[in-house]
Symmetry: C2
Subunit: 152 residues, 2 copies
Amino acid sequence: MGQEGVGVDLETSLGYLLKEASSALRAAMEEVLRPLGMSVTHYSCLELLAQRPGLSNSELARGAFVTRQTMNVLLQALERDGYVTRPAEAPVGKALPTRLTPRGRQSLEKASAAVRSVEARMLAGLTGTEQSDAFRILQRMIHSLHGDNEGA
Amino acid sequence: MGQEGVGVDLETSLGYLLKEASSALRAAMEEVLRPLGMSVTHYSCLELLAQRPGLSNSELARGAFVTRQTMNVLLQALERDGYVTRPAEAPVGKALPTRLTPRGRQSLEKASAAVRSVEARMLAGLTGTEQSDAFRILQRMIHSLHGDNEGA
DNA sequence: TGACCCATGTCAGCATTCTGACATAGCTTG
DNA sequence: CAAGCTATGTCAGAATGCTGACATGGGTCA
């Protein structure tokens, strides 16, 4: 189409490239999760629960980078379908600790393998040093964006 | 809350970190664009048009990482509000080349400055070498995710 | 030329996520 | 102890984005 070599500056923006990479990763994850009937947020929630059992709704929301209202909708569906359980009453405060059911754990296994293969494909062609560099640089970007770089 | 140092493996995943960085960038952009009454997709569309005048709806969609249906809805609103113009009939094929109006260009100026300040904050604390490394590594990740690494 | 394929623009319906708002639990502080 | 602050869970409504579907323009190829 109309994409002759017009002067394009977006191609030099790290922000744009970051968005592109994240979009590509999300698309690749959706592609392998769709056959399993699972969305990315769906999977993120289960994975978080597998690694940190007993997380509350709000904690899961922060870990999956969505609002607690969005996570609440998802948790209600997951609970209804028998993937997770929450106590009827909060043991302390209002936070309801959530846990995977055996069914949830089983469902996660296949999804987790699929996602790991996507991440492996993404990292193929990167040396160990490059992966360490990427990790350190991304962490520093996040730190700066959160405004933790005051008074300096 | 319940976040004592439980063993967490998500903290070692580059995919998770990439999602976190992208989420932080998006949140920071939304924060500075909100006072201007502009969303991230809204801004992305205008910025693309400023750098590549005459892009079609489908091309804009690919550049902003949304579907062409989503971009079409946005373009109709932008056209209605006088930020962009599209010819009534396609000069060739079905693609309608879109262009910024003076009003659109003026609206973009403030937004572009705000977004540049966010990107500058994100990159603060990174050396020139680190920025080049990040650029190269992200490009390679995107390339691998798109499956361009066959036969090897 | 005609059949086929691909890309585009667009309409309609659905899914997902967000913002706003409210009540409650627990901690902090005077 | 009482007031205030923060965090949480939850409901309701709105915005945003996506999937599915259809018609059309243009190129390819037998």
